[in-house]
Symmetry: D2
Subunit: 136 residues, 4 copies
Amino acid sequence: MEDKTGDAFIELMRTHNESISSFLGTKIVDISSGYAKVSMEMRPEYLNFYGVVFGGIIMSLADQAFGCAVNSLKYPSLAVQFNTYFLTSAYGGDRLTAEARVIKSGRRVSVAEVSVTNQDGKLIARATGTDIIVEK
Amino acid sequence: MEDKTGDAFIELMRTHNESISSFLGTKIVDISSGYAKVSMEMRPEYLNFYGVVFGGIIMSLADQAFGCAVNSLKYPSLAVQFNTYFLTSAYGGDRLTAEARVIKSGRRVSVAEVSVTNQDGKLIARATGTDIIVEK
Amino acid sequence: MEDKTGDAFIELMRTHNESISSFLGTKIVDISSGYAKVSMEMRPEYLNFYGVVFGGIIMSLADQAFGCAVNSLKYPSLAVQFNTYFLTSAYGGDRLTAEARVIKSGRRVSVAEVSVTNQDGKLIARATGTDIIVEK
Amino acid sequence: MEDKTGDAFIELMRTHNESISSFLGTKIVDISSGYAKVSMEMRPEYLNFYGVVFGGIIMSLADQAFGCAVNSLKYPSLAVQFNTYFLTSAYGGDRLTAEARVIKSGRRVSVAEVSVTNQDGKLIARATGTDIIVEK
């Protein structure tokens, strides 16, 4: 694993947009080594039958922050596992923010934790994922 | 907890469409007591920088099958936790299918497992979630 | 759900010992509403073939701190799900400490997070669990 | 990664005993490439305050089957993550059996699923873990 691989990823994320980001409307607010902050507005089309935001949308937001955080240190790398706890419902019109922090960055594997909060700072979800560094 | 609550949900899912389903393009192929099968085409906008399908999309598909399976027995209920393993990458143009089966249906909590496969039957992901029954 | 149920549990844990605690040699160092700290010495019999502490022992320590933390608020309750990340190996002779904090305490479900550290303050594992409140 | 590394592990487990196995009283009933079956009697000292088997004991049994299954294909390897669902309580005197099957065996990472059942074939727990192959 070479050094500086993460820096290239950070530069890439600051200057380019992923297809999935455009589709979901996620915005990378901040990214640095081992950290990322991504936000997203909860559109009406994200709601399920209960009138609350669909879990998959919250996981998508958390996953993007996760991916940014782990790749900012070791790039390229791929998530192998992702676990989410849904603590409070989110609603249409909410602006959710996901903050991810790497808690382990090894030669082969990284682990990062994510907090998803709403515009009032209320904790909506917590997530943790495992990321495998891809050898080039 | 009343009996037959799940039957009302099954009827609802057979006759109505959720906002999130229209947005993501998911289709409920099959739903019965404790089981659901949902499919989804992998559009170009679902890809990330690596050119593979974004993890959040796969989790969304798995989550919808999960939600259908657990609510088909106890309705209404809400996911509190969802864990996914990404086993093989999915690509643009793939048609993924998620099958969810309830493995525990208690008075307060349900657990269901999900397999996500592609059009060739290859296992793309496995997921398991915890669901809390909401008392009316 | 009655108030004060957790207080009875705290009193119980301060004055009595569980069979499993005696067997494993765990010690409840601190317990208060929504929080618990449990420590345990890594005996030679806890090692696996690699000469490091067996994962199940670390999960047992984390699980006990988790159980104390969630029951200190709502008692009786039972774990339905427990997820652990092993970040650094632990060795024979280490004294590990698990600290658990409840991050959600609802009417039906609680979620708590656990940090396991060694005698040097190094993070050995992180865990999160889901707990269901048992109605009396 | 060399071939045949798992075979050496299988031979090792058939002829030797780990310290932790002696301590917990686990018995490897069967081990082959990508599969392991481990059983364990639930002694009185494994019970918690509720009079049911402590979750950490069930996770220990599942973890040992998991470790045997993944190392039977790629050895040495180490668990980085382990997630357990507790579906039914186990009691003193029960004999629990954990069966683990590898569902992904990659160059860098393996994933295996575990079922824990009691002497009546009742499903007590399900678990899944992520395992990192250690390069020699």
